[in-house]
Amino acid sequence: MKKMLTGVLSLILVASILLSGCSNGKTGADNKKSEKKEKATIRLATWAGADEAKELQKIIDKLNESSELYKIEQDSNPADYDTRITTQLSGNGGLDIFWVSAQRASQLAAKGAMLDITDKLSSSDHPAADVSDYFEASLQPFKKDDKLYGLPWLEQPIVLYINEDLFKKAGVPIPDDSWNWDKFMDAAKKLTIDGNGKNAAESGFNAESAKQWGFTVNGWPPAQMFVWQNGGDVIAPDFSTSPIDSPEAMEAFKFYADLINGPVVPKQQIIRDRGFDTMFKDQQVAMFMGGAADNLENQVKFKCKVCEVPAGPSGQKATFGDVLGMGINAKTKNPDAAFAALLDLTDAIHHWKVMPPRKSLATMDEMNKLHPERSESMQAIINSLEYAKLYRYYENYPDWDNIFWTQLMDPIVNNHGDPEKLIPVVKPQLDEKLVRK
């Protein structure tokens, strides 16, 4: 036993020597001193897939070269991203800055997981720190009690991608500024063709043998967009109620249900089996509502045009604007370096992705310079940004969204649910989730 003890103690001594040579082993005070001398390593977590991560790394390499404060290390993995960063942020995972969706941002900001950068922004003269340059809506998910906890790097409105070839073949005029729900439905019917060549507007049309559909929807685009277009809302501005039972909202949900159950949209089974956006790319669907950043017009082999989504019956324009951004871990050991990295990287992404949520950059001139390959689509995208809206995110929004989807939208989309029967039951359930916030 004594020999064993001696052996173990010797092992510990050797291990300690090895570790003191390899490890950082610095104290907090040493860290502060060394931050001045050497660049702070800033760990960035993203959900970027392989291709996107490669492009992002090129941007990061340039920033690292030019910065004296920080060196960003990318840690990109789309698998279970939300769970991963939640776990890292709640522990001491060593994460400094991270990509975050609008929904998660409002959750994490409210729970103190993200660093308050309000004062840092106001004292910085970096272009990306100019809060007044951002579209107000894009900042909402990062705000809590008038404090800012992150910055958006993208706000992409939903736009309408159309297959121009199919439109020409069917003799349907290209969408214009006068398009509303009625004109949209008319076009969708004429673009829905059965096996005998008849369209859905003609008598004798056989929906069972449809081989081309005018539109596709599977819960996306979100029903909220149609509610806004009809002048309604799903969460009141003061978060006191979910007015899904208002006449405007009810009408919008019925329009949505009729779209799904009608002949112009494929059965949900078919959409699941063949692929939602794949059907548009394979020319089985003539119109597709997707994010402006999807860049479908440059990915497909047919002539594809980007248009604004149709307005509501009274001409009201509204579209959903998805916001993605970045925040700093409240527990970061290098807040100043992390903030500098956040600003530089946010600004770089503003010049990379469509659309930057900044008024100075979201102009025709700037966007044509940055994305010449999308010059034909830019006007529609910029116009859409003007009336893009976000969901009303708040701390417990996932609870509300869970009820909204599982009790209302899933029955409508997948089980022919009747909004008139569902809404009176679901409304109090949604209101309860607002009360619990």
């Binding site: 291990a15 570790l19 939300d82 939640t86 942020l89 997981a113 996932p398 609870d399 869970n402 089980n415």
Partner: protein, 329 residues
């Protein structure tokens, strides 16, 4: 290298610290009068005990504490007493649906799993040429990753081009029925999961039964043959009682597995109209909605359900489980 130095250091120091603790424990036990063999035994199992305490016992007890709190992972747990449980039992609109779905799934798949495994094991117990190859093939499901299998099931159940609907086509045409949307239509979700559970027949369950069957004394069958017993009588009066402890084990383990179904449900993502399995609900409440207190409460309810059902099964054992040692006594 610098980035991973901390992790490497912790990896290196962990076994060293465990060994030190084991040595220290040995000397301490000897000092208080324990005999050498006893002290050595306890010190050698101490690393496992420490691991159990840190990674199983502590989280277990802590989750019980969390179930009485409002905890969002980022702020300190806030004591709320029985509120989480009251909410679950009286106001939560997903909880009871989830309990119903999970129990229904277990009730359907458990008999399929146990009976199916036993039947396959009996086939593999035959002395035929190439039985070794069959045993290898039938064990393969155990080595395939659950996620990969879940993705295969998605293809299998594809309503347009999946193998299952293709095989059912003649029957569907005969009765003028449309192709089932297995994961999109709430009516077909439970049947789809029941079909997927057939996969669980193969693998470890079959191997366990096979081992049990091979442990049944041949002399019992020979005596039964002399008495002119039929194959069914031999099965019912010899095989089943002899392997009844293993049947009990399979029922308990199968029930625990069925009530904790998660991976397949998360990857297949059936329509939420069918409800969510309890483990799915725990995950979503904890990590999506950040209500860790509620998630812990659901976990403890699931634990109570499993415990209650297991005790119920054990209560019935005097009637049907035969232990050879009892027979000898």
């Amino acid at each position: 290298m610098e980035r991973f130095a901390g992790t490497f250091g912790r990896w290196l120091m962990t076994p060293i610290i465990l060994v030190l603790i084991a040595i220290g424990l040995y000397y301490f036990l000897r000092r208080i009068g324990w005999k050498h063999r006893q002290a050595m035994g306890f010190s050698l199992i101490s690393p496992w005990v420490i691991g159990f305490l840190i990674f199983t016992a502590f989280p277990l007890v802590y989750s019980l504490f969390l179930s009485f709190t409002d905890y969002n992972l980022f702020n300190k747990p806030n004591w709320v007493g029985l509120s989480n449980y009251k909410w679950l039992f009286t106001k939560d609109i997903e909880f009871w649906k989830s309990v119903k779905l999970t129990l229904s799934y277990a009730a359907i798949t458990l008999p399929i799993g146990v009976i199916g495994s036993l039947l396959v094991a009996m086939l593999l117990n035959k002395k035929i040429k190439g039985v070794g190859i069959f045993r290898t093939i039938y064990y393969l499901p155990a080595v395939l990753p659950e996620v990969a299998v879940a993705l295969l099931w998605r293809l299998f159940f594809n309503s347009e081009s999946g193998l299952l609907n293709y095989m059912l086509q003649p029957i569907l045409k005969l009765f003028n029925l449309g192709k089932p949307d297995w994961f999109g239509d709430a009516r077909f979700v439970l049947p789809a999961f029941a079909i997927m559970s057939i996969w669980g027949i193969f693998g470890t369950n079959t191997v366990v039964f096979l081992a049990a069957l091979q442990g049944v004394p041949r002399s019992l069958y020979e005596v039964a043959d002399l008495d002119g017993a039929s194959a069914f009588k031999k099965f019912w009066n010899i095989t089943v009682p002899q392997i009844s402890p293993i049947i009990l084990l399979q029922i308990i383990m199968g029930m625990i597995g069925a009530l904790q179904v998660f991976t397949v449900a998360m990857f297949v993502r059936p329509t939420s109209a069918a409800g969510k399995f309890l483990n799915q609900l725990i995950y979503e409440r904890g990590f999506t909605q950040l209500h860790m207190g509620e998630a812990s409460a659901i976990a403890w309810v699931l634990f109570i359900i499993i415990l209650a059902l297991s005790l119920l099964v054990f209560k019935t054992t005097p009637a049907w489980v035969y232990y050879e040692s009892e027979g000898m006594n």
